[in-house]
């Protein structure tokens, strides 16, 4: 079917209008982040009353909110950021390494016990955290897993389900002949795994890694209950502590902290958005 010149022109105009409309919608969509930025430069009293106005000479406080935010609530923000970083990196690395090895073992050995472990993992994906939170916190306490250096074990345990599930799905698509060839050439299982299987699974590592990092970085309740809060706080815990229970709250300083929290995430997102969107979408199976 050949469209006439007129229809094609109309079609073009329609698309232009759509682009314009979406540009406006997108501007509105990033407004909340822009508002956080704007209000992080205002004095406390003005955040609530002049939320949508640009800072005036009266309300503008420069970087004072950021400086105040650093030691807000008698807990240094950078310390919380450091613990958040340590927990996220260590836990994600541990989860990726251990669950991928376990998934390979489960898929290649395929014994009754392996199948049982696999189905338990699938089962754990539908269990909400509230079901285990009290007993889990107690268990972690007893076993001294309540520091940023040991909490990765808890993340490995509670988060194993999804990543074992995703890795198993991928291992089943790897032709076993490749691994057999490596074994015949004299590799032991460890060498086969690290030299042959791991490189093939790279895309799954990226997907699972992004899911784990996003989950752990933003997680509030698990570290809140498991960590020894007098010593260790992560960023979400600190922000909730400031807003939730810390008496009079300086809204300007809170906004400064929130901006510092989301800025690195947004910067990373801008550079790796392709992988992030793909990785998150791959996790949609978790339900």
């Amino acid at each position: 079917m050949i469209a006439s010149h007129g229809t094609r022109l109309r079609e073009k105009h329609k698309k232009m209008a759509m682009t314009l409309a979406f540009a406006v919608i997108c501007l509105i969509y990033i407004m909340p982040v822009a508002l956080v930025l704007l209000n992080s430069f205002k004095a406390n009293a003005y955040v609530n009353t002049e939320t949508f106005k640009l800072p005036t000479s009266e309300s503008f406080v420069g970087f004072r909110n950021y400086i105040k935010g650093m030691t807000f609530g008698n807990y240094p923000f950078l310390k919380a950021a450091f613990y958040s970083f340590v927990i996220t990196v260590a836990s994600s690395a541990l989860v990726l390494l251990c669950t991928s090895m376990a998934a390979w073992y489960i898929s290649r050995v395929g014994s009754a016990f392996c199948k049982m472990v696999y189905y338990l993992c699938v089962f754990s994906m539908v269990v909400p955290f509230q079901m285990v939170m009290f007993t889990l916190a107690k268990t972690a306490d007893t076993l001294n897993l309540n520091t940023p250096w040991t909490i990765p074990v808890i993340y490995l345990g509670f988060g194993a389900g999804l990543s074992v599930f995703m890795f198993c799905g991928f291992v089943k698509s790897i032709p076993v002949e490749i691994e057999e060839a490596a074994m015949i050439d004299g590799c032991n299982p460890l060498q086969t795994f690290f030299k042959v299987v791991l490189p093939i699974m790279k895309p799954t590592y990226i997907s699972v890694g992004i899911l784990e990092v996003m989950w752990i970085w933003n997680d509030y309740l698990l570290p809140y209950l498991v960590l020894d809060r007098t010593k260790y706080m992560t960023i979400p815990i600190l922000i909730q502590y400031l807003k939730g229970s810390y008496g009079t709250v300086d809204l300007g300083a809170t906004m400064a902290l929130i901006l510092l929290t989301i800025l690195p995430v947004i910067i990373v997102y801008i550079f790796c958005q392709k992988y992030i969107i793909k990785g998150v979408a791959a996790g949609a199976v978790k339900g």
């Binding site: 698309k15 759509m18 682009t19 979406f22 997108c26 969509y29 990033i30 909340p32 209000n39 955040v47 609530n48 939320t51 949508f52 251990c98 090895m101 376990a102 390979w104 073992y105 472990v117 338990l120 754990s124 994906m125 539908v126 269990v127 909400p128 955290f129 079901m131 285990v132 939170m133 009290f134 076993l143 074990v153 808890i154 490995l156 509670f158 194993a160 799905g169 991928f170 089943k172 698509s173 032991n188 299982p189 795994f193 970085w217 933003n218 509030y220 309740l221 979400p236 922000i239 807003k243 939730g244 947004i266 997102y269 969107i277 793909k278 998150v280 791959a282 949609a284 199976v285 339900g287």
Partner: protein, 307 residues
Amino acid sequence: MKIFRPRHDPASLNSKLIRRPLRRMAWIFLLPTFAAFCVGFLYPFFKGMFLSFCKFKVTSIWTWVGFTNYVKAFGDASFSHAFWYTAMFALVSLLFINVLAFSVAYALTRGIKGSNLFRTVFFMPNLIGGIVLGYIWSMILDGILIRYGTSLVLETKYGFWGLIILMCWQQVGYMMIIYIAGLQAIPNDYLEAARIDGAGSWKTLWHMIIPNMMPSITICTFLTLTNSFKLFDQNLALTDGRPFLQPAGGSVIKTTEMLALNIYNAFYSGGGNNRGVGQAKAVVFFILVAAIGLIQLKSTRKKEVQQ
């Protein structure tokens, strides 16, 4: 998005060449994950199951009370209020998020300029954690409501719609990605054929696109449903259950409190005297969420068979 379908080839699982030496290394491949899984999931899960039948303050000291906790949980007005509030919220957010996400995905696959940039922007809020999201929106919504001399925590309906707006902002981008993948998977021949047969764009949408999108629609429906049911951080940060209601002679009802927060409060407020009831509530909650998950699994399987 590529939904993964494992290739079921029993032969690929039974390579003796690999299985034998691998088995000897179980302690290094399987044991770390399995041990952590026991500590981080299995033991707490079964202990929690057991404790839901006990009266306890700490996990080591308990007395068996049978089904008393469950009876108390079902008789708790705040729990049933939280259930209906959550169900209502789940339904409304399900409708809003999916309709919006589908519309955006549909528009962004029409080949307009800048689609990729728009997609990136819509997805962005997904990366922000629930606690932070809650405080961003409480600032914005309070900034609006203060002009009318009121506040987010003063009326239940503000808290309800505020949370809907927040969840839409966060999740439309995510669901949009799934819908875009679904839309792109529809073969162009189908749409061409519909056009040649003289179907307008509405007819094409209704009779061609939506029926072919059913798998994506099912996934998104259940994702939004479980997300709403399990919602905790956003609920805590935005309103924390306020405003509270004190009916004559009854216990306090936190009117914007959802199920997860209600369970949390049963554990950690009131001096820990209600932990047994809290654990029973958690078991009920688990069964509810698991049931939704099972129905999802069944319905997606059925769709696969039909195709």
